[in-house]
Symmetry: none
Subunit: 226 residues, 2 copies
DNA sequence: CTTGAATGTTAAGTTAAGGTTAATACATTT
DNA sequence: AAATGTATTAACCTTAACTTAACATTCAAG
């Protein structure tokens, strides 16, 4: 996973702290979202699905501890990394923080270099677990972790390109992917392949998964449907 | 895994700091070992195979950073949690620490409650990953303590690299490990080995354990399956 | 109902990825 | 310092995966 794919949600009621962190993180290429309180934070988190959430402890409405607890109760955020932002020496908060499922805490005042370094260390944890992803549509399940497609409980293993193509199409069932788009996403922008290559791969998928899952939209592209 | 099974190695040149930490950790039921410098630390680590190592940054002979680097080069300690102990505000050390593969750092002076809480948070990570003890899948059992693989009751002893590779793959049966990932986890990020090295090791495993346990996903990596 | 551009199909050609082996370098024991 | 055991490399081999090309079929516009 590339640095530029990481999404970070910053939550703090003080706008200047927020801006300062945002500036530093964006400079490093992260996607940064912000919220001013716990309530906003949860809304934003649901929308953006960030990889890392940095929560200030002291906030109006809902404090960091409480926000963290709520987040941890939402299954989506079970694996999200949550870090607290605290003033030095707030011992009790630190303890409560860990108990409530925080992964780390960062002390204010923030020093850019340490801060960035810390963030990187935290995100490093994700890199191994982030290739992980299973999702299902109808009786088809795609398991990126094991690199297999499961159809009605039966494992079908596909070669790389076929798998990637399958994965792309299934990622948005019903949506039509233009040939161009497929080429750039599965083959990459710099590879040039002949006209029939996509068709041949679709053919193999139809053979292995089933004819009627893949629909051709002439002149446009293909779509997956259950 | 029970608290009482966790082994922690403390490394600091100041005996009273050492004693203080030791006292507090033992009170909580951890097994605590100590060392006064980097050299001792590495010896002790090899003997005790601790789950967590706390390294003071400033030490005679070999400092914390250097010790950490050395440790990370030993495959056994790839998954060991390493934390630095620093005086407040040693920014640069912190950065170097993370770069060298540290998981966290703890600031002095140590406050017992925060300290313990922190340690628990760190060790919690281990509970999910099966990094310790014995582990079995189907008729294959891996004994990490003794460095032995048991297949259908028969012990097969593997050399270190083969064992590490085996261990990695078996740790998540079915999951595909990318070549890169295997390299960084078994060989380490800083070692560069030729293209065929992984294959050769896989070959040896197939020879010793059985062909069909190891599946190749071309262009991606390998997975273990029973 | 034509018709031609777009896609389907098949099988044969390529190639990149991995398999295999043996030789060499490197480490440990004894 | 042999001897034994491990790890890595290099050279070559094998194949599945991928691509292409040639021909067949479809389907939607006229």
């Amino acid at each position: 996973m590339d640095v530029n794919d990481f999404k970070i949600l910053l939550v703090d009621d003080e706008t200047d702290v927020l801006d300062f962190m945002k500036y530093n993180l964006e400079k490093e290429g992260f996607w940064v979202y912000t919220a001013h309180n716990g309530v906003e934070a949860i809304q934003m988190a649901k929308k953006m699905n960030p990889h890392l959430i940095i929560l200030d402890l002291m906030m109006p409405k809902m404090d960091g501890i409480e926000t963290c607890r709520e987040l941890r109760n939402i299954p989506e955020f079970k694996n999200t990394i949550i870090t607290f932002l605290t003033a030095r020496d707030e011992d009790y908060s630190q303890i409560a923080g860990f108990e409530v499922g925080a992964d780390d805490y960062i002390t204010k005042p923030i020093k850019p270099r340490v801060f960035i370094s810390r963030i990187r260390a935290l995100l490093r944890r994700l890199e191994t677990n982030e290739t992980t992803g299973k999702f299902a549509v109808g009786d088809i399940e795609i398991d990126r972790e094991r690199y297999v497609v499961v159809k009605a409980g039966k494992e079908i293993s596909l070669p790389r390109k076929e798998f990637e193509l399958m994965n792309l199409l299934v990622s948005k069932p019903g949506r039509v992917f233009k040939r161009e788009e497929i080429l750039s996403k599965v083959w990459g922008t710099d590879t040039i392949v002949g006209d029939r290559t996509i068709d041949v791969h679709i053919r193999k998928l139809r053979e292995k998964i089933g004819d009627d899952y893949f629909k051709t939209i002439k002149g446009i592209g293909y779509k997956f449907d259950a």
